[in-house]
Amino acid sequence: MLWKLQPIQIQPEVIFSIGPLPVTNALLGTWISIIALLLIFFFGTRRRNLIPSGMQNVVEWIVEYLLNLTEGVSGKVKARKFFPLVATFFIFILFCNLLDVFPGVDTIGTVNLEALKLAHLSPPTTFLLLGEYSNKLTPWIRPGTSDLNLTLAMALVSVIVTQIFGFYTLGAKEHLSKYFNFKALFTHGVQGPIEFFVGLIEIVTELSRILSFSFRLFGNIFAGSAVLALFALLLPFLGEVIFIPLELFVAFVQALIFALLTLVFLEIATSSHEHAQDETEKEALQQYERAEEEKEAVTSS
């Protein structure tokens, strides 16, 4: 047998440690993504011209597209507040996910000496690990989002910031009354207890978002890298032609879903129960109607 499948393990492996802090391969992957991001945005914004060219063009296109997307969901006023968080989530997750398809990620590393000892093998003499040695590898780099710690941290940031924005825009009283609806308990008669219970349900759905955000991102990217590793063995060359474009698409879609869901829940948390049709919705409706009129004008002419 030429190759053996790498053991698919969920927890990232510790490569080295700085003092008491262990540095795992997923953390190294995250650092590489951050450095790549810094370089792209550094060179994109270094010489800013009024008429953009080269890298500046790309960076401006990304930012403008994301700003338009944010404004489409939450209106012009709120979008300016939400945009930094949402765009950061999108770009950072996208770069972490894209690391998945680079050659060398998950395949370059050190030989795991303990696994060698367990399999009664002598240390390898070549750089390429073949046969029995091929699954005794500790990879140096692993995509950051294939580690549950990073996705859980980002999900916590998303949920907590949503709450902070809710308190900030609606005030403590109105925001808390979404969850503990004591007013309905006394004024709405028979419906009161049901409305109070619905408020308690909201707490559960808020908390379950931590799980859904973190596990969706982690599951998709982790499964993606497992599929790529598997098909490199089952169907070399041909399998990757199919699955690398698929992984590129998954990387993009997962980053977008994380960012957009954060945005949607921010929007829900900052719009009050009582006057549902507030400013941003009116504005969005106006924009929509204008766009529809333009479409009709184009089709009729």
Partner: protein, 71 residues
């Protein structure tokens, strides 16, 4: 007439992606909680079924809230 603009394709996609989790996670949490309460109170199935029912209600309500944005 409370007419809202329809969300963009990407927003709809994100909401649909959230739907499965919205139904599944409260169900699992309710079941785990019910099982734990069964262990404490030495009941056979009572709290497990109650937790399952509660999780189902929460899941369906969450899905309804999510999809009110779409239509």
């Amino acid at each position: 007439m409370n007419k809202k603009p329809p969300p963009s394709v990407w927003e709809s996609l994100a909401l649909v992606g959230q739907l499965g989790f919205t139904i599944a996670i409260p169900l699992v949490l309710g079941t785990i909680l019910g099982n734990y309460l069964d262990g404490i109170t030495h009941q056979k199935m009572l709290f497990l079924l109650l937790g399952l029912l509660l999780g189902l209600i929460v899941g369906i309500y969450g899905a309804y809230r999510l999809f009110r944005r779409l239509f």
